[in-house]
C-alpha cells in the first residue's frame, strides 16, 4: 500500500524549469553528498517548481508537506490508528520518504512550531537517521533520500524565524524573481502568451515590486504574472485579466488597486 502511495509522488514528465544560475548543479552536488537543502525566496518565484524539477532529474518521488502552525511531530512521523479494533501504525510523510529514499520537501518550514522542526535535526546532519519513538524504531536514511525545506524571509515576523541550530544544517539556495528576460521567457512559456505580452507583464510585475514602501508587502510574483497570461490566453482582455489576476490578489487597499490599474493602463 505504501508503494502505491509513493508512486503517486513520482514525477513522470519533465517539469518546465529555467535555471537562474547554478542552483541545479549545487542541488545535485548536495544530493550526492547527502546534504539537506534550504530554499529561501519570495512567494511564487519558483521554489516549488525547482523542487519538482530536481526530483524529476534525480528520478526520485517528491513528497511535499505544507507546514502550518498546528503541524505536530506525529503528522510528520506517523501515528497509530485504530482499525477494526486493532492499533495499526501508519507512516507519516517524512517516514514514508525516508523509507523509500524519496525527496521530502517541507514547504514554509517556519510556519511549523519550533518543537516540530526539531524532529528533522537528526535527519539533517551527518547522522541521517529518524527515530520513531512510539515504535522504538530508528530509521537510517538511504543515500537516495533528500530533505529540503523552504521559507520566505520577506514576511516573517521576529517570532517566526528559523533557529540557528536548524539553519546551520542546510545548504542554502536563495531564490529571487528571475531577471526580466528570463522571467518574460517563463511567463511566455507557462502562461502561453506572446513574447511581447510577456515582456509587458514582467514590466508590470517589476513596477508592483517597487511598491514595497507604499504599503504592498510583496509585489506580483512570477506565478501571478503567469496566471494573468493564462486568463488572456482564454480570451479575457488585458485590463480585466491584469486586474483580477494581479491587482486584486495583491491588495485590498482601494488606492493601491487604482494605482496598479493605472500601471496596467500605462504598460499595455
Amino acid at each position: 500500500m505504501d508503494n502505491m502511495r509513493l508512486e503517486e509522488h513520482r514525477i513522470e514528465q519533465e517539469p518546465y524549469y529555467l535555471p537562474q544560475g547554478q542552483e541545479v548543479a549545487l542541488a545535485e552536488a548536495a544530493y550526492n553528498s547527502g546534504l539537506p537543502l534550504l530554499l529561501k525566496g519570495p512567494t511564487g518565484c519558483g521554489k516549488t517548481r525547482f523542487m519538482q524539477y530536481l526530483a524529476w532529474k534525480l528520478g526520485r518521488p517528491l513528497i511535499t508537506v505544507s507546514c502550518h502552525d498546528d503541524l505536530s511531530t506525529s503528522d510528520l512521523v506517523g501515528r497509530y490508528l485504530i482499525k477494526g479494533g486493532e492499533a495499526v501504525w501508519t507512516d507519516g510523510p517524512l517516514t514514508l520518504a525516508v523509507r523509500a529514499g524519496a525527496v521530502c520537501y517541507l514547504d514554509e518550514i517556519v510556519e511549523a512550531r519550533k518543537d516540530t522542526t526539531v524532529v528533522i535535526h537528526p535527519l539533517a546532519d551527518d547522522r541521517r537517521e529518524l527515530p520513531i519513538e512510539k515504535r522504538g524504531e530508528l530509521l537510517l536514511a538511504p543515500p537516495q533520500f533528500m530533505l529540503a525545506v523552504s521559507y520566505n524571509p520577506g514576511y516573517q515576523s521576529v517570532l517566526k524565524d528559523l533557529k540557528p541550530s536548524t539553519r546551520q544544517r542546510f545548504v542554502a539556495l536563495s531564490f529571487a524573481y528571475p531577471d526580466p528576460e528570463r522571467e518574460a521567457e517563463i511567463v511566455a512559456r507557462e502562461g502561453g502568451v506572446t513574447g511581447d505580452l510577456a515582456r509587458s507583464l514582467v514590466k508590470l510585475g517589476t513596477m508592483t515590486r517597487g511598491l514595497k514602501d507604499s504599503g504592498l508587502p510583496e509585489g506580483a510574483s512570477t506565478r501571478l504574472l503567469i496566471q494573468a497570461g493564462k486568463l488572456m490566453g482564454r480570451g479575457i482582455d488585458v485590463r480585466p485579466a491584469c486586474h483580477h489576476a494581479i491587482a486584486e490578489p495583491l491588495t485590498d487597499d482601494p488606492e493601491l488597486l487604482q494605482a496598479i490599474d493605472e500601471m496596467v493602463s500605462s504598460v499595455f
Partner: protein, 766 residues
C-alpha cells in the same frame, strides 16, 4: 426678521459668551431682509462655528445671506462644513476666500464640474509613481511643473478637461514624463562616464549648468536641449509605456497648444517643436533653415541618451541663434514642465549630504563594534588619521570598491570591502547599499567619508538618539494632532487637538512596597487565580484525530462493539494549544477630580493588576492622561506595551498624581493609535476614569460625551475592544450612550476597586 430679534437670537445661541454689541449688529445687518425660515437656517449653524472661531462666525453671518441667494437652505450645513474644513486646514483668510465665491468654490465641485485637485489624486498617484520608479520619489503640489530628481512637482489642481478621468490622466502623464526625465538622466547628464567624473564634487554646480552657460544665450540653449530631450523621452515612453502614450494621442488635440493664430509667424523654436514631436510641418519664414534643422532632427530620432541631445543642441544652436533678434522663451508644454537646474543642484546636495552623514554614521558604528578593535587599542591610530586626513594610504582603514568602474557591471552588484589593518571585515548590507547609492550619484566613493568615519569612531562616537535626563517632565516625542468629533457638524474638527506624550518623573517612594504588604494575602490569591489563565497547553481526550491513542476510549469502544453497540470513533488524545495572544492598554484618568483617595485607590489597583499580570504574561501598557485646552493634551507614559514591569515602572506608578482636566477623546485616539501598531488576536483598551469627560474650554456636556463616544467607536473600528471602568457614586444615563451598554462598569465604592479590577480583567480576557 428685524435686526433686534436676530441679535437677541444670536446672543442666546452663544451664551454665556458676550460678544460686542456692534460686532453682532454689523454681522446680522445683511440678514435683515430675509424671511424667517432662512434666518433660522442661518442661525442654526452658529453653534457649530462659534466655538471654532468667533471671527469666522461673524464673517459667516455676513456672507450667509449672499450664499442663500444661490444655494438652498438645506445645503447650508454642507457649505458650513466645507468652510470649516478650509479654516482648519488653511486658516481664516482661506475660509473667507472660500465663502466669498459660493458658485465657484462650492457649487461647481458639488456638481462635479470642477477640475481634479492634487490632494484627491495623490493617494493613487504616489503608489503609481513609486511603482514606476521603484524608489522613493516624492510628489508635491507647486505652481509649476518640474522635478528636482527627488520630488516631482505638479499643479495643485488640473481643470483642463471636463471629465475627472481625463484630468487624472493628465496628472499621470505629467508624472510619467518627469519620472522619465529623472531615469533618463536628462537633468544629471555629465560628460562621458570614463573621464572627468572624479572632478565633480558635492556642492559643485551640475555639469549641465556649466555647459549651457557656455552659449551666448543660455536660455535658448536650455530650451533647445529640453525640447530635444522631450522628443527623446516621448520616444522612450512610446516604447516603455505604449498604453499611456496611446491615450495621450487620443487627447492630443486638447493637450497641445492650438497653432498660433493671427500672431504672425511662429517662433523658430515652436516650429522646431512641431517638427520634433512629429506633428505638422513647422511653418516659418525661412524654409532653408528648416531644411537644415530637419536633417539634424532626423539624426536625433535614434538618440538613445542625453549625450545625443547635448550633441544635437550644439549642432542646432548656431543655426537658430540669430534667426530672431531677441529670444522670447517658449511656453513649455504642460506635461513637459520646466527645467530647473538650480533646484536639482540643491536637491542633489541635500541628498549627498544625507548619504554622507548616514554612511559615515554607519561606518563609524561598524568600526566601533569591531571585535577587539573597539575602545583603546584603535584610538591612537584613528587620532593620528584625523589630524592627517589627506593621506589615507597611511591609515589602517580602507574601503575598496570592487567592480564599480567599468560600464558593463554598472548595475551589477558591487562589492565593498572594508579592510582594517589589512584584515578584511564584513561590511554588512546597509553600508554596501549606501556605498552603491553614493557611487551612483558621484561616480566614486570619496576618501574623506572613510576618514571622517574613522575620526568619529576614534572619538568614541555613538549616535545618541535618546534624550538626556533633564529633570522633571521629559518630552518624549513631537506633539501629535488629532481630529475631534463635533456632533453638531456631524463631522470632525480637523487637527483640533495637539497631544504630547510625556514621561512621568521617577519618584522614590515607598508606595508600591506599602501596597504590596497591605494586600499581601490578596496578591497570593491573585497569583493562583491568574495562573489558571495561563494554561497554554493541555491534552484533550476523545478526539477524532490526535497524536496519541486515548486508551480509555479504545477500551470503551471495544467493549461497546463486543456488546453489539456502535463503538465511538473518538479514540485519540490531542494536545490543544491555546495561546493567549492579548495586548492590553490601561488608560488612567489623571484629572484634578481624582484628587485624594480616588487617585490613591486607582494606583493601588494598578499595583495589584501588574502583580497579577506578571503571572499570566500578557502584554500590557499603562498610560495616564490629562491636560488643559485643546493645544495641551498630555499623555503620560507609565509602562510601554513591551516594557518589563521593573523598578522604573513601579516608581512611575508611585508618581501618578492628579493634574488638570479630562479631555478623553484625544487620549483614547492616541491609545488606539498605539494599540493599532501591536499585533495581537485580542486588543483591549481599558479606561479608568471617575466620571464625565471635561476640559477647561468648550469640551464639556454633550460635545464631550459625543466626542468620547466617537473616539470609542473609532477604536472599535480598528478592532480594539474598549472597556471603561468608571468610579462614581451614582449611575448616569449618558454612560450607556457614551460607552455602549455592555462596555463599561461602574464602581460606586472606590474601595472595591483593587479587588474588582483583577477579577474584571480575568472576565474580559477569558
Amino acid at each position: 426678521m428685524d435686526a433686534d430679534l436676530l441679535k437677541e437670537t444670536f446672543l442666546s445661541l452663544v451664551a454665556p459668551d458676550l460678544p460686542n454689541d456692534w460686532d453682532v449688529e454689523e454681522a446680522v445687518e445683511n440678514m435683515a431682509g430675509l424671511d424667517e425660515h432662512r434666518c433660522h437656517s442661518i442661525m442654526n449653524q452658529v453653534p457649530v462655528i462659534w466655538p471654532v472661531s468667533h471671527s469666522l462666525c461673524f464673517d459667516y453671518l455676513k456672507a450667509a445671506a449672499g450664499a442663500l441667494a444661490c444655494i438652498e437652505p438645506a445645503a447650508l450645513p454642507i457649505w458650513v462644513n466645507r468652510t470649516l474644513d478650509q479654516y482648519e486646514k488653511n486658516g481664516l483668510r482661506s475660509a473667507r476666500r472660500f465663502m466669498a465665491d459660493v458658485e465657484k468654490n462650492f457649487l461647481c465641485p458639488l456638481r462635479g464640474e470642477s477640475g481634479l485637485r492634487f490632494a484627491e489624486a495623490a493617494g493613487r498617484l504616489l503608489p503609481y509613481l513609486r511603482g514606476l520608479s521603484g524608489r522613493k520619489l516624492e510628489l508635491a503640489a507647486a505652481p509649476a511643473v518640474y522635478t528636482d530628481t527627488v520630488t516631482i512637482f505638479v499643479p495643485p489642481e488640473i481643470t483642463l478637461f471636463q471629465e475627472e478621468a481625463d484630468n487624472f490622466f493628465l496628472y499621470k502623464l505629467i508624472i510619467t514624463y518627469q519620472w522619465a526625465f529623472i531615469v533618463q538622466s536628462t537633468l544629471t547628464v555629465s560628460p562621458s562616464p570614463e573621464n572627468g567624473k572624479c572632478g565633480e564634487r558635492a556642492g559643485d554646480e551640475l555639469w549641465l549648468q556649466g555647459f549651457l552657460r557656455s552659449f551666448s544665450c543660455p536660455e535658448l540653449a536650455q530650451d533647445l536641449y529640453h525640447l530635444l530631450e522631450t522628443a527623446r523621452i516621448t520616444r522612450y515612453l512610446e516604447e516603455e509605456l505604449p498604453g499611456l502614450m496611446r491615450h495621450k494621442r487620443e487627447l492630443a488635440a486638447l493637450l497641445e497648444p492650438v497653432p498660433r493664430s493671427g500672431a504672425g509667424k511662429p517662433s523658430i523654436l515652436a516650429a522646431l517643436r512641431d517638427l520634433l514631436l512629429q506633428r505638422e510641418e513647422g511653418i516659418t519664414s525661412s524654409p532653408d533653415l528648416m531644411q537644415s534643422c530637419r536633417s539634424i532632427v532626423s539624426g536625433c530620432r535614434s538618440a538613445r541618451s542625453a549625450h545625443d541631445s547635448i550633441r544635437a543642441t550644439m549642432a542646432l544652436y548656431p543655426l537658430v541663434q540669430d534667426v530672431e533678434p531677441e529670444y522670447i522663451p517658449l511656453e513649455p508644454l504642460l506635461y513637459q514642465g520646466g527645467l530647473r537646474l538650480d533646484a536639482v543642484r540643491v536637491a542633489r546636495q541635500a541628498l549627498l549630504a544625507e548619504l554622507e552623514e548616514r554612511f559615515v554614521d554607519v561606518l563609524a558604528t561598524r568600526l566601533l563594534n569591531l571585535p577587539g578593535q573597539s575602545g583603546r587599542p584603535a584610538e591612537p591610530m584613528f587620532r593620528r588619521e584625523e589630524q592627517d586626513a589627506s593621506s589615507p594610504p597611511e591609515s589602517g582603514i580602507a574601503l575598496i570598491v570592487a567592480g564599480g568602474r567599468d560600464q558593463a557591471t554598472e548595475t551589477a552588484a558591487r562589492t565593498l570591502l572594508l579592510t582594517v589593518n589589512n584584515k578584511e571585515i564584513e561590511v554588512g548590507e546597509e553600508l554596501n547599499n549606501l556605498a552603491s547609492d553614493i557611487i551612483s550619484e558621484l561616480g566614486y566613493l570619496p576618501a574623506q567619508y572613510v576618514t571622517s568615519a574613522a575620526g568619529r569612531a576614534g572619538r568614541g562616537y555613538a549616535p545618541l538618539r535618546g534624550t538626556d535626563e533633564a529633570g522633571g517632565m521629559e518630552e518624549l516625542t513631537a506633539p501629535v494632532t488629532y481630529d475631534e468629533w463635533d456632533y453638531r457638524r456631524a463631522d470632525f474638527r480637523k487637527n483640533w487637538v495637539s497631544l504630547q506624550e510625556k514621561d512621568l518623573p521617577l519618584l522614590h517612594s515607598s508606595f508600591v512596597q506599602e501596597t504590596l504588604s497591605r494586600y499581601h494575602g490578596q496578591i497570593v490569591r491573585l497569583h493562583r487565580q491568574f495562573e489558571m489563565l495561563r494554561q497554554a497547553e493541555r491534552f484533550v481526550r476523545r478526539q477524532k484525530e490526535g497524536e496519541d491513542i486515548d486508551l480509555d476510549a479504545v477500551v470503551e469502544s471495544l467493549a461497546d462493539s463486543r456488546a453489539g453497540l456502535a463503538g465511538s470513533d473518538r479514540l485519540f488524545v490531542r494536545l490543544q494549544r491555546d495561546r493567549r495572544d492579548i495586548a492590553v492598554l490601561f488608560l488612567i484618568d489623571m484629572s484634578n477630580s481624582t484628587q485624594g483617595w480616588v487617585g490613591l485607590t486607582i494606583k493601588e489597583s494598578l499595583v495589584l493588576l501588574c502583580e497579577a499580570l506578571a503571572v499570566v504574561g500578557d502584554r500590557y501598557g499603562i498610560y495616564g492622561f490629562s491636560g488643559m485646552r485643546r493645544l495641551r493634551s498630555e499623555f503620560f507614559h507609565i509602562k510601554g506595551l513591551g516594557e518589563p514591569y521593573d523598578d522604573a515602572v513601579r516608581q512611575r506608578i508611585g508618581s501618578i498624581a492628579p493634574r488638570e482636566y479630562t479631555r478623553m477623546g484625544p487620549a483614547l485616539r492616541h491609545a488606539t493609535a498605539l494599540l493599532r501598531r501591536v499585533e495581537a488576536r485580542t486588543r483591549l483598551l481599558i479606561t479608568l476614569s471617575d466620571g464625565k469627560p471635561e476640559d477647561y474650554d468648550d469640551y464639556k456636556g454633550e460635545y464631550a460625551i459625543e466626542d468620547t463616544r466617537h473616539a470609542l467607536l473609532e477604536a472599535r473600528a480598528a478592532s480594539i475592544h474598549p472597556f471603561c471602568i468608571t468610579i462614581d457614586r451614582q449611575a448616569h444615563d449618558y454612560m450607556d450612550h457614551m460607552y455602549g451598554a455592555k462596555n463599561y462598569i461602574m464602581i460606586d465604592d472606590v474601595r472595591k476597586l483593587p479587588r474588582r479590577m483583577p477579577e474584571l480583567y480575568r472576565a474580559l480576557t477569558r
